[in-house]
């Protein structure tokens, strides 16, 4: 008994000794879609970046908060891709785990569902995979919510500008075939395009939607081909981005501009279709010439045995860098001070220098990318230099 007591005392002393040397870790919470329909997006664009960032920061001794070096400790829960579970899990992180900061979740809807709780406990919410036209209204309601990946209208404007460049160079004419997935994202983008494209002198010769999860898209592509368009635009989700491209190859849909939305920027897209997608346009893109981007991509590739996708991944990593620099810059884990620091300063990140406007929006993002020589380079963007000028697509070879 006595021996046990002595042992316990020694153990306590040892524990006290170690805590005296190392400061408490900074606890950072994240709700992850580990299972369910949104799991894929999280696994591609968010999770590997969080792992990379935590490793990098902890390898160099942690975050410098005032005079202390504090390691990062992640606390993560699965929400099964369900917003009600997300709400509970964010509450749990805020009140039961007492995390110092929270990372933003994946998806527009999930960011919206989490926003009231972030706001209630004063966490800054640097949202990335959250594309919406309601930025002014949301930032007014939630003063700690930041937007980094752009607005719905911004995306369609980027596409329109890309088409304009191709039209000016004589690569395409005015006839556009447009299809969209009948879910919130596709419906919104198509609704904006129906206003912007005709205003820019385009004629929408084919306009069809298909339900989420449609397996056979050959009638859609056949119909578009019969309308003899100069450009084909699809506001699509990952499965249909692949299916539409496959059908376009089968039908040999010959257009000067072929655009698909989500997942075009994924390495798996090029992995599946190889050289056939040379010249394909898609949502996202990054400027591969920037030094910071090169360094980020090299570190990511080394840590994850593969390159990151060419869209939200770099921006999500940039969001983590913003948080890191804001905590170190403010020199405290006081959340209001960190939020104020984010609003007031410019940050040096993987996607370049970014800062936030009066609506907490970072107007530094790429909107359209194009596949060329096995890489997806940005051809249109807002407030950022593009990697190259768009060129006409020349068949499916």
């Amino acid at each position: 008994m006595r021996k046990l007591f002595l042992g316990a005392t020694a153990l306590t002393a040892a524990l006290l000794a170690t805590t005296a040397f190392a400061a408490d870790p900074i606890k950072i919470g994240r709700v992850v879609h580990m299972t369910g329909p949104a799991a894929g997006g999280d696994a591609v664009s968010h999770t590997p970046n969080v792992k990379l960032w935590v490793k990098q920061v902890n390898d160099r001794g942690g975050l410098k908060v005032g005079d202390e070096m504090r390691l990062i400790e992640m606390v993560e829960y699965d929400d099964k891709s369900n917003p009600a579970e997300m709400i509970k899990a964010v509450q749990r992180l805020a009140t039961q785990d007492d995390v110092d900061f929270l990372l933003s979740p994946w998806g527009t809807g999930f960011n919206a569902a989490a926003a009231p709780i972030f706001a209630k406990y004063g966490y800054p919410q640097i949202s990335v995979t959250n594309i919406t036209d309601e930025i002014p209204e949301l930032s007014e309601r939630f003063p700690g919510m930041f937007f980094t990946l752009g607005s719905t209208t911004g995306f369609v404007e980027g596409l329109r500008d890309t088409l304009n460049k191709l039209r000016d160079s004589g690569a395409i004419g005015n006839k556009v075939a447009m299809v969209n997935v009948a879910d919130s994202f596709g419906i919104e983008l198509a609704a904006v395009a129906r206003e912007l494209l005709p205003a820019a002198g385009y004629e929408i010769v084919f306009d069809k939607s298909y339900p989420l999860g449609t397996a056979d898209l050959s009638p859609v592509v056949k119909g578009a081909k019969a309308a003899e368009p100069d450009a084909f635009i699809a506001f699509s989700y990952p499965p249909d981005t692949f299916a539409l491209t496959e059908q376009a190859i089968i039908e040999d849909l010959n257009v000067g501009a072929f655009y698909t939305a989500v997942a075009t920027a994924f390495p798996a897209y090029a992995g599946k279709f190889g050289s056939k997608i040379e010249g394909n346009l898609g949502a996202g893109g990054v400027n591969l010439d920037q030094e910071a981007m090169k360094a980020y991509r090299a570190a990511f590739t080394k840590h994850n045995d593969g390159p990151p996708e060419y869209w939200a991944a770099a921006t999500y990593y940039a969001g983590l860098q913003v948080l890191e620099q804001a905590i170190e810059g403010a020199g405290t884990t006081d959340r209001q001070a960190v939020t104020d620091f984010i609003k007031a300063n410019e940050f040096d990140t993987a996607i370049g220098a970014i800062s936030f406007d009066e609506h907490n929006e970072s107007r530094h993002y790429w909107t359209v990318g194009q596949w060329k020589d096995g890489a997806f380079n940005a051809v249109a963007g807002v407030g950022v230099p593009v990697g190259m000028e768009p060129v006409a697509k020349d068949g499916w070879n």
Binding site: M34, T35, P37, E76, Y77, D78, K80, N82, P83, A84, E85, I87, K88, A89, Q91, R92, A94, T95, Q96, T108, G109, N111, A112, A113, A115, P116, I117, K120, Y121, T132, D133, E134, E137, L138, R141, T152, N180, A182, D183, S184, I187, E188, A190, A191, V192, R194, S209, P211, L212
Partner: protein, 308 residues
């Protein structure tokens, strides 16, 4: 002395009064669990009012819940309607739809009905998306209100109280009597002159009404409505599982299923953050093997043993 039949009402009223104070004492975390519990109590209890006596397993909760949430989102975002107007309209739309569906399918028996309701959420989601896509357009279905979790909790509490009151009245009405006969033997019910189709349709409409109302009321909690999220087939299954866990023979049965189930779910989410879905599946298996008659069955088993 008060009549014995009024005692449960008083007990329920007392509990309800106590439940009303939860938002004043619970912190954000427990309140969010309480909101989840109330939401499932309302859904499971109203589900059991129909499926308990009739033995028709309806997997349509997700469809009606989705109509509620989606109409609120659509009306507020695209037509500048108030939350209250949409929350008032949505349940009636769902009730109308339930009447149509019930009329078309409840004449069929057993398994056809189950399969049809399973596909219903998907069918309605596609139908609404198609209408929105082709005729309405959209700029993002945000439900921006000033309601917080406390308000949502109280609204759900009122709905739950309404469902219990309705269930209590039903148990003492001709319709409830007809339902019980129908559940025991539909042939017999028809022979004694009960209009079985009408009875079933009425009850199906009631569950549709409640599910849509609950969907509308919790929409401000989600802030943003995505069709593929609100029309969730998973919700339909969870409601059934919770009701069966509690037992459907008594009005308070589902309540006894929802509370432990939600807490258990929470414990699993916290303890196994990397394998939540798998552990949940194993738990289902254990429940089915361990307490096949639900918690109310378990309780009456204990009571019987004690008196014996």
């Amino acid at each position: 002395m008060m009549p014995a039949s009024l005692r449960p009402l008083l007990v329920a009223g007392g509990l309800l009064g106590l439940a009303g104070f939860v938002p004043l004492v619970a912190d954000g975390y427990w309140l969010s669990i309480a909101v989840t519990i109330l939401m499932y109590v309302a859904l499971s209890t109203s589900w059991a009012l129909f499926s308990g006596p009739t033995h028709y397993i309806a997997l349509s909760t997700g469809a009606f819940f989705g109509i509620g949430g989606y109409l609120v989102g659509l009306g507020m975002s695209d037509y500048d309607q108030s939350f209250w107007a949409m929350a008032a309209i949505a349940p009636f739309v769902a009730t109308g739809l339930a009447a149509l569906i019930g009329w078309a399918t409840l004449r069929l028996s057993g398994v056809y009905f189950v399969i049809f309701t399973l596909g219903l959420a998907e069918m309605i989601r596609n139908l609404i998306s198609w209408i929105q896509n082709n005729f309405l357009g959209s700029r993002g279905l945000y439900v921006l209100t000033d309601l917080d979790e406390r308000h949502i909790y109280w609204m759900l509490l009122a709905i739950t109280a309404g469902v219990f009151l309705f269930g209590w009245r039903l148990g003492r009405s001709r319709l409830g009597f007809a339902l019980r006969i129908l559940g025991n033997d539909e042939e017999v019910a028809r022979h004694v002159g009960i209009n079985t189709a009408r009875t079933k349709i009425l009850m199906f409409m009631t569950t549709g009404f409640v599910a849509a109302l609950v969907g509308a009321v919790v929409a401000p909690r989600y802030y943003y409505i995505e069709p593929n999220v609100v029309f969730s087939p998973e919700l339909s299954f969870i409601v059934v599982i919770m009701a069966l866990l509690g037992g459907t023979r008594r009005l308070y049965g589902p309540l006894l299923g929802v509370i432990p189930f939600t807490l258990l779910w929470e414990v699993i989410s916290v303890s196994f953050p990397n394998a939540t879905t798998m552990v949940l599946g194993l738990t289902f298996l254990l429940i089915v093997y361990g307490i096949p008659n639900g918690i109310t069955g378990l309780l009456s088993g204990f009571a019987a043993r004690r008196s014996a």
